[in-house]
Amino acid sequence: MLNYFTFRFLSIIPMLFLVTVIIFVGLQLTPGDPLTYLIPPELLASANFDLEGYKKAMGLDAPVYIQFFRWLTDLLQGKLGYSLVDGSSIAKMISNRLPATLELAAAALIVSSILGILLGLISSIRQNSAADYGNTVIGIIGISIPEFFIGIIAIQIFAIKLGWLPVGGRFEYADSGFIDRLSHLIMPSLVLGFSLTAALMRYTRGTMLDVLGKDYVKTARSKGLPEWKVNVKHAFRNALMPVVLLLCFRLPLLIGGTVIIESVFGWPGMGGMILNAVSAKDYPVVMITTMMTACMVLLASFLVDLLTALLDPRVRFE
């Protein structure tokens, strides 16, 4: 089993490498002098700063492939460069913002998985044609409404009209309690996961219906097992596999969706960082944040793969 996991983990590395190559190429294509963003801004602004001399000393005039490897090793050591806009260290910006986005994405993933799968399970067990029809319609409506629109409606209803939940942000003040943080997290994560919930609901229902028609389910029933055991222990575990696969495919959407949701709810995460950088044409920040996002997606799909291997006893480890 360990071999399988190590193998899967190692297979991400070529992809990660390719991603860094692309990011590096992107950085080279920026208008103006590429890679000057690596110079600390205090140095750049100082009066007798000799740009050419500095470059020679730091080896920034070396051939491109040497520059690439130097850049890569710097990257792995955490030296991510400085923003073109306000000169703050990109690594620091990311470390401020990344936890917020991870929190949001994880909450959305967990909540919509549980909700979607549960609802799909329920509607597949209590199957009748009215629910069948309604389910398709609801599923399609769920993926048709723009996420920011759902967010705005949610703010209007729950925050403004009813006053139950705060309008935006992550917390009222830095060390506020768990309840406060939770109340700020609920709406954004639910809205972020909304279309995922709708898709999961529909898909779970479909796969459950497939599985419930299989022979081994009839066998289990004829053995006299209680109905809930048939549904949960036998049918559900096998229906889960394709559902987890769907989750894997939808993960990039989830991480991309944080950009919009963070804007609507004023959530201080990576999405906001990318948006500000794009508006201000802050190329280094855009490229490095993109790289972080790609890494997040790769890692996340690796984790989902792990989960699949754990859940499905049919997977044999090569």
Partner: protein, 286 residues
């Protein structure tokens, strides 16, 4: 004579099957009505969508301005009607552009195989690793905003779906007997690819284009909402809602965000209903 009769009866049967799908017909009706309204925009509204009137800013709906005015005093109803043109155009063109690129590359990739296939497969995997919105944002930084730029960006970032589809079909279809027969007749490779195999792969591509249009309309509205899509001189559904980034707009000026949001949701829903129906008819394997 018999062959053409058989072909048209298959098309006819598909069409009838589609017509029987109530949901798809509802979707088709919704889309048609909205496209008609978009085309008839000058007829339906006497106001111009870019007529700035700073003395009438943020007015609620009234007789003269059916859906009120926005921050610059422009008539919201007119903006929604003219915006429909732009939003639908971007969605459709982006989808068609992406499908075109994906189909052509998929054709060569699936048919020829070899190193070309391996390389393009890797490239498509890389494109799929990045969330599409992020890719779009990168290209917006480098290429800049604008109507045509956006269509180009959508086409360039969204080709992977069609690519995989067409490639898969070509991989299986190139083993068919009629391909060998064509070769025996001396028909050139390019001709075999585009005139003989390609028509058989088009059904799922049509479904993908329909569903992708929905996706791109949503994407454009999201980008314009963020302020990174079409600049506000040209109205789109998304950039009307752009004003609602501020909470007081959400609270006080619902006419700015509710109608365009409903318009987007309704149109995309219609496209999805139709696309779902098309998928049932044209691609029953899914």
């Amino acid at each position: 004579m018999g062959k053409t009769a058989a072909k048209s009866s298959l098309a006819l049967r598909n069409w009838e099957k589609l017509c029987r799908n109530k949901l798809a017909m509802v979707g088709f009706a919704i889309i048609s009505v909205m496209i008609l309204c978009a085309i008839l925009a000058p007829v339906l509204s006497s106001n111009k969508p870019d007529e700035i009137d700073l003395s009438n800013r943020l007015m609620p709906p009234s007789g003269e301005h059916l859906l009120g005015t926005d921050k610059l005093g422009r008539d919201v109803f007119a903006r929604i009607l003219y915006g429909a043109r732009v939003s639908i155009l971007i969605g459709l063109s982006g989808a068609l552009g992406g499908a075109l690129i994906g189909t052509v590359i998929g054709c060569f990739s699936g048919y020829l195989g070899g190193w070309f296939d391996k390389i393009t497969l890797r490239i498509s995997e890389i494109f799929m690793t990045f969330p599409q919105l992020i890719l779009v944002l990168i290209l917006v930084v480098y290429i800049g905003q604008g109507l045509f730029n956006l269509i180009l960006i959508f086409a360039v970032t969204g080709w992977t779906g069609t690519y995989r589809l067409v490639r898969g079909r070509f991989l299986s279809l190139r083993e068919e007997n009629y391909v060998d027969a064509c070769r025996a007749f001396g028909i050139g490779e390019l001709s075999i690819m585009f005139r003989h195999i390609l028509p058989n792969t088009l059904s799922p591509v049509i479904v993908t284009v329909t569903l992708a249009t929905a996706g791109y309309i949503l994407a454009e509205s999201g980008l314009s909402f963020l302020g990174l899509g079409v600049p506000s001189g040209i109205p789109t559904w998304g950039n009307i809602i752009n004003a609602a980034k501020a909470v007081d707009v959400i609270r006080n000026n619902p006419w700015l965000w509710l109608p365009p949001g409903l318009a987007i949701s309704l149109f995309v829903m219609g496209v999805n209903f139709l696309g779902d129906g098309l998928r049932d008819v044209l691609d029953p394997n899914q």
